[in-house]
């Protein structure tokens, strides 16, 4: 991997192996830090990139995703004690979306677990976790190591992604099922693909040797030219993930390992991730606390909102449906969804107003040529995700 030549105290951020390619395509020099790397926020415009996600195919540099290799005889009991899902049920070459909690049953992070081979797993997560992962390993015969810098990764997402990968020479890619892992060759390069992603659309994540990174990028860009391929930055991805109803750390929740104030932690039940919590698989960290919460009911929940009008409800406070007498929550993510043509948001809302179908009010501030206006907009609590295309699950996906 190409390390930055300058020392860390002059250039704190690392560059991914795709950096030179990304820089060449970046028109507006919009870079942001992510997990210690510098990555593109926007290449051209957020809207162009977003439309490519939903209508063509896109490349997104995933390399900064923090990756840990977990192996050893106790790998499964270890992971099962770490995360809330039953990892024992994860079949070889499959991926599972997971969350893990602290003792109080509050979310530390979410991520994915890849079952790669006998007794070998990989955890992918947005933030560094080695401190927690190693403390969780006390009493288990496992080895845990960070492999972030040894693996480069690209997300290939969008309706034409399968067709593009096929055209690039990945034979049989159309047979890869959602959450399945496949192994492919591209020329002399070995690639690992998983049918996973953060867009809620048809898509894949491609894992490779950093040395091959630029070659693979070039091959995919060439293969995608006739299928509208575009490199995208984090802003466009963020739009897609809100439509898909996925949550983001430090946006929709703060890791329980980072909160300073009491009461700012969130449990998976509160975040609407109850389906990830398997109370029947045996003990895991936070289980006792979550059982209690389940028994007593959650005090708040993250919900999807469908808000009247077309003004995104960024940071809006949420009020009750009785003339807004009581403040009952706040919006964590919001956008006008160009695909759904709906004004959508994710919001934390107090009980009992988080039930689907409830009506609440959002207090939206609009900047109209430097004059701020306040709007109280009616909002419905609705099911998440906001957008679920058929192609997301179809195997094989339709030809394009």
């Amino acid at each position: 991997m190409t390390d930055s030549p300058a020392p860390h105290y002059k250039q704190p951020l690392l560059k991914t192996p795709f950096h030179e390619r990304a820089r060449a395509l970046s028109q507006i020099d919009s870079f942001i830090p992510w997990a210690g790397y510098t990555t593109v926020d926007v290449f051209t415009t957020m809207e162009q990139e977003y439309f490519a996600v939903r209508n063509a195919t896109t490349l997104y540099d995933l390399t900064p995703m923090v990756k840990y290799r977990v192996s050893g005889p106790d790998a499964v009991p270890y992971l099962n004690r770490l995360v809330t899902r039953d990892v024992a049920k994860l079949k070889p070459d499959r991926v599972a979306y997971v969350v893990w909690c602290n003792d109080a049953g509050h979310l530390i992070d979410d991520g994915t677990i890849f079952r790669l081979g006998a007794g070998e797993y990989r955890i992918c997560t947005a933030e560094r976790q080695i401190d927690w992962l190693l403390d969780s390993a006390i009493g288990f015969d496992v080895q845990i190591g960070e492999v972030t810098e040894q693996i480069a990764a690209l997300a290939v997402q969008g309706p034409t992604s399968c067709a593009m990968l096929k055209a690039a020479g990945l034979r049989g890619i159309e047979l890869l099922k959602p959450f399945e892992i496949g192994y492919f060759s591209l020329g002399e390069h070995r690639l690992t693909l998983s049918r996973t992603g953060f867009t809620g659309d048809l898509g894949y994540e491609v894992w490779m040797d950093p040395a091959a990174a630029e070659t693979i990028w070039d091959i995919l860009m060439a293969a995608g030219r006739s299928r509208g391929i575009r490199a995208i930055g984090s802003q466009a991805l963020n739009m897609a993930r809100i439509e898909a109803g996925f949550i983001m750390p430090n946006v929709d929740f703060v890791s329980a390992e980072h909160t300073i104030r009491t009461g700012r932690d969130r449990s998976p039940l509160e975040l609407g991730l109850g389906w990830l919590v398997d109370f029947n698989k045996g003990h895991f960290t936070g289980r006792r606390a979550l059982l209690t919460e389940k028994k007593q009911g959650s005090r708040r929940q993250l919900v999807g909102l469908d808000i009247a009008g077309n003004k995104p409800a960024h940071n809006a406070l949420i009020y009750t449906d009785d003339g807004g007498k009581r403040e009952i929550g706040s919006v964590t993510s919001a956008m006008w969804s160009p695909t759904c043509k709906r004004n959508i948001a994710l919001a934390i809302v107090d009980a009992p107003h988080f039930q689907v179908g409830s009506t609440v009010w959002a207090e939206i501030y609009l900047n109209r040529e430097l004059v701020w206006e306040r709007r109280m907009s009616r909002a419905q609590v609705v099911e998440r995700p906001f957008f679920v295309p058929e192609r997301r699950r179809a195997t094989p996906p339709a030809e394009f």
């Binding site: 009991p77 004690r81 770490l82 003792d103 403390d135 969780s136 006390i138 009493g139 006792r288």
Partner: protein
């Protein structure tokens, strides 16, 4: 007492792990509370670190603690240990500080106004009376802390709040002046406290020694007034008998406790080491012995230290990461070694008559001396001039040695668990340092030694199965104290796993042969009934 496996029922209400004094007290209390109880001891005899055993042909000694002064009188009475065979070789034993040049200071006698005779200034002698009285008042105010389960903080439970209020009230009842003084000195080091009160280095050394006995502290460590008050409060809770020596050594106490437990219906099995605590679903199912035998139980109460209980016997997989992290951080490295000498004659200490030889002797001539001894321990070394608490149990109890022979038993500090050089290499050198020190106060002692044994924390860890060879199963310090002892989440004898309880020295109120942890734990189990909490 060693007990053969009787024809056992397959299931018990309670299984107690470990036959030390806390385990025995717990088992006896549970059995008296109507539970069916099985106590499992790994060694061939009960007693844990409170046992009497042979260390040289014909010479026997209390291998761990050698004095009894902390066990509450009502506990001994309730369990009727005297009718179960406990006899006293000595009670109300004196404390004599040995000083260089053959001088001595008998601490207890100071209150009789004897200061001048011992070379103390009138000022010190008077100050001592006031100091002793004040410390006794403080100790008495702290007594209620001992007999109860430590309250949890921040709960809405009224019994927790009541317990806090009671403690607060007890301290307020001291009156404004005493309360202020207690709140001030509570966080101080014993060095400063004694400096404020006395001039005599010898007196300060003797009084300060008790604050650091068995602790990971020197006299200048903040928190040592707490450890001292704690000891005084425990003694106060124990009643007026003072330092005592059971006839037949500490093992005799445990044998009596075992008889009390058996009499109440508890079953005791020795040579039955537990391999693991078994869990089914959300709660404890019982234990599995190293032999492979499974024993079902509704409740398991472990007197093993918390690290052993949680990380080895139960296993981290049944616990949350944060909890395990806290258990892993319990500081439990012992610093006290035990020296046993078999002597062919009565040892003579310059200036010490037979009356005082019946009591304990201290080698801690000044606070600086203790602090210097501690300095080395901080870096994994030991001092060439260690400090000691010495008893000659055979003066009070001839049965412990062959005719004419005598036993010298000494706690020697500081012997850090993690000696940089390793105990393999360091043990002989430490023994020499201890013997050289003794020789200074008892000329010719070396010539009378016919057998010797040194137990380092490393040895005690192995023999008594306690992590770090630590008496208290974990440092007694503010941050490992009361509702945070051994760790938050297990400080009320209950653990995060339903049906698993702790009853050892790692819990409130800590070690020393006190038995209070065992009794409090049993009461907690009884209070909670047979239902799952």
């Amino acid at each position: 007492m060693s007990v053969a496996a009787p024809a056992a029922p397959s299931r018990y209400d309670c299984v107690v792990i470990g036959g030390g004094h806390n385990g025995l007290v717990c088992a006896a209390t549970l059995a008296r509370g109507g539970r069916s109880v099985l106590l499992l001891e790994a060694a061939a005899q009960v007693g844990g670190a409170a046992l009497t055993r042979e260390f040289a042909p014909g010479f026997r000694v209390s291998a761990g603690a050698h004095l009894l002064h902390l066990m509450p009188a009502d506990l001994l009475r309730d369990l009727r240990v005297e009718s179960h065979g406990l006899e006293w070789a000595a009670r109300g034993m004196s404390t004599t500080a040995l000083l260089p040049g053959g001088a001595r200071l008998v601490v207890g006698e100071l209150e009789l106004g004897d200061g001048a005779l011992q070379g103390l200034s009138t000022k010190d002698a008077q100050a001592y009376s006031a100091y002793a009285a004040r410390m006794r008042r403080f100790a008495a105010a702290l007594v209620p802390m001992f007999s109860r389960v430590p309250p949890r903080l921040g709960t809405t439970d009224w019994s927790d709040r009541l317990a806090m209020l009671k403690l607060g009230w007890q301290i307020r009842r001291l009156g404004k002046r005493d309360m202020r003084e207690l709140l001030r000195i509570g966080g101080m080091n014993v060095y400063d406290l004694l400096e404020e009160n006395f001039d005599s280095a010898a007196l300060k050394g003797a009084l300060g020694f008790d604050a650091v006995l068995g602790a990971n502290f020197g006299p200048r460590s903040p928190g040592t007034v707490l450890t001292l008050l704690y000891r005084l409060a425990a003694e106060s809770a124990a009643g007026a008998a003072g330092l005592s020596q059971p006839k037949g050594g500490m093992g005799a106490l445990c044998n009596a406790l075992a008889k009390a437990a058996s009499a109440a219906g508890a079953v005791i099995r020795t040579a039955a080491p537990v391999a693991r605590i078994s869990v089914e679903g959300d709660r404890i199912a019982g234990v599995v012995l190293e032999s492979g035998e499974s024993i079902a139980a509704h409740t398991v109460i472990s007197s093993a230290d918390p690290k052993t209980t949680f990380l080895r016997l139960l296993g981290a997989r049944y616990l949350d990461t944060g909890f395990v992290r806290r258990v892993d951080h319990i500081r439990s490295r012992g610093l006290a070694a035990k020296l046993h000498l078999a002597l062919n004659r009565l040892p003579a200490f310059a200036g010490v008559g037979e009356a005082n030889l019946r009591g304990r002797l201290l080698i801690a001539p000044s606070l600086q001396h203790i602090e210097h001894a501690y300095n080395h321990a901080k870096y994994g070394e030991f001092s060439a001039a260690p400090v000691m608490e010495i008893t000659v149990p055979t003066v009070n109890d001839a049965t412990l040695a062959p005719a004419g022979g005598h036993v010298l038993s000494a706690i020697v500090q500081y012997a850090p668990y993690t000696l940089k050089a390793g105990w393999q290499a360091g043990k002989q050198a430490f023994m020499d340092a201890a013997l050289d020190t003794l020789e200074q106060f008892s000329h010719g002692l070396r010539g009378s030694i016919v057998g010797a044994e040194l137990l380092t924390p490393d040895d005690m860890e192995r023999e008594f199965r306690m992590s770090g060879g630590h008496w208290h199963h974990g440092d007694l310090a503010f941050d490992q104290f009361l509702m945070v002892r051994p760790v938050p989440g297990a400080a009320q004898y209950r653990t995060p796993v339903d049906g698993l309880f702790l009853c050892g020295a790692g819990c409130h109120p800590g070690g020393g042969v006190m038995g209070v942890a065992g009794r409090n734990a049993a009461q907690q189990v009884l209070t909670m009934g047979m239902k799952s909490p």
